[in-house]
C-alpha cells in the first residue's frame, strides 16, 4: 500500500525537493534584484567611458588657446607694436586682476589700433591669463620675452 498525504510527500522526498525549489527561486530573485540595483552604476560606467573617449577625440580636434604657440602674431605687423605697448601700459594703470571688457573699452577709447585683434593675440599667447573667476592677469615677463626683451 502506498502512503498518502504528507506521508507520501515525505516518502517521495517531496519536502527536500520543495525546499530546493524554494531556494533556487529565491536565490534567482535575489541575484536579479542585486543585478538591477547595480545596473545604473554599470550604465554610468559605460557612459563615462564613452564620454571620455569622445572628449579625447575632441581635444585633438578643437583648437584651443593653450595648444597654440606663445607668439604675438600681429606684433610683426607694421605699426601694431605700439598697440601691444599700449595694452601693457593699460594693464599697469588698471586694477588687477583685469576686467577684459574694461581693458578693451579703455583700449578702444584711447584709439589703440586693432584693439580687438591685439587683445585676442595677447590672450592666445598667454600674456593675459584667466584667473578662473572671470578676470585676467597680465604676465609682464612673458610679454617682454615675446616682444623681444622690451
Amino acid at each position: 500500500m502506498q502512503p498518502e498525504g504528507f506521508s507520501a510527500i515525505s516518502w517521495a522526498g517531496g519536502w527536500e525537493i520543495a525546499f530546493l525549489g524554494f531556494l533556487i527561486v529565491f536565490m534567482g530573485l535575489g541575484l536579479l534584484a542585486a543585478a538591477i540595483s547595480v545596473l545604473h552604476r554599470v550604465l554610468d560606467f559605460f557612459e563615462k567611458k564613452e564620454q571620455k573617449i569622445a572628449e579625447k577625440k575632441q581635444e585633438t580636434f578643437f583648437e584651443t588657446a593653450s595648444q597654440e604657440k606663445p607668439v604675438l602674431v600681429l606684433a610683426r605687423e607694421k605699426g601694431l607694436r605700439e598697440s601691444y605697448q599700449d595694452y601693457a601700459l593699460l594693464s599697469e594703470i588698471m586694477p588687477s586682476p583685469l576686467s577684459l571688457s574694461a581693458l578693451l573699452e579703455a583700449a578702444s577709447g584711447r584709439g589703440v589700433r586693432r584693439c580687438h585683434a591685439v587683445l585676442a593675440d595677447l590672450l592666445k599667447a598667454g600674456v593675459l591669463k584667466a584667473d578662473g573667476k572671470g578676470y585676467y592677469l597680465w604676465d609682464q615677463a612673458l610679454f617682454e620675452a615675446l616682444m623681444g626683451g622690451e
Binding site: 572628449e55 583648437e63 584651443t64 578693451l104 585683434a117 585676442a120 592666445k124
Partner: protein
C-alpha cells in the same frame, strides 16, 4: 537652405552638444543652419537682448563679457555661444564680441522649433544630448563653459 562644407559638418559632429545625435540627424540639422560672418570688433549680441539664436563657431575669437565686468574668451572652432536661445523666453546674459574676423553657424530660434517639430527623432536625440550637456556644465566638466551666458550663477537672465 544653407549648404555647409565638410569641415563645418565635422564641427557639428564633434560638438559636445550633439554628442548623442546621429549623423543622419546632423545632416538634417545642417539644413536649418545659417552662416554668419563677423568682422573684427563687431558685436554678435548684447546682454538683455532676447536670445534668438544659438551659434557655433567655425573660426575666430570671441569675448563674452558680463555686465559686472567678468568675462571669458572662446577661440577657434566648435565653441557654443548663446545657449539661452534653446530655452523659451530667455535673454542673453552676456555681450558677445568678435575679437577677430569670425565665421559662425547660426541656428535661429524659429528654425530650431521648426526642426524639432518636423523631426521627432531628432527632437528625442537632441533633447537627450542637451540634457547631458547641461548636466556636464553644471558639474563643471567643461572648463571653457563655466562662465557661459546661460549660467544662472551670473544673475540676470
Amino acid at each position: 537652405m544653407q549648404i555647409l562644407d565638410k569641415s563645418m559638418l565635422r564641427i557639428l559632429e564633434k560638438t559636445p552638444l550633439l554628442r548623442h545625435v546621429s549623423m543622419e540627424s546632423i545632416d538634417i540639422l545642417s539644413s536649418y543652419l545659417d552662416l554668419l560672418s563677423l568682422k573684427e570688433g563687431e558685436e554678435l549680441y548684447s546682454w538683455g537682448r532676447a536670445a534668438e539664436a544659438l551659434y557655433l563657431s567655425v573660426s575666430g575669437d570671441f569675448l563674452m563679457a558680463f555686465p559686472d565686468g567678468r568675462s571669458f574668451t572662446l577661440h577657434g572652432s566648435g565653441k557654443i555661444i548663446g545657449m539661452n536661445s534653446l530655452l523659451p523666453g530667455k535673454h542673453y546674459t552676456a555681450r558677445a564680441i568678435a575679437l577677430t574676423d569670425s565665421l559662425l553657424m547660426a541656428l535661429y530660434k524659429e528654425k530650431w522649433f521648426r526642426l524639432l517639430r518636423d523631426n521627432p527623432l531628432f527632437q528625442e536625440q537632441v533633447e537627450r544630448s542637451v540634457r547631458n550637456y547641461l548636466k556636464a556644465r553644471r558639474k563643471g566638466e567643461d572648463s571653457t563653459i563655466f562662465l557661459m551666458d546661460s549660467d544662472r550663477s551670473w544673475g540676470d537672465d
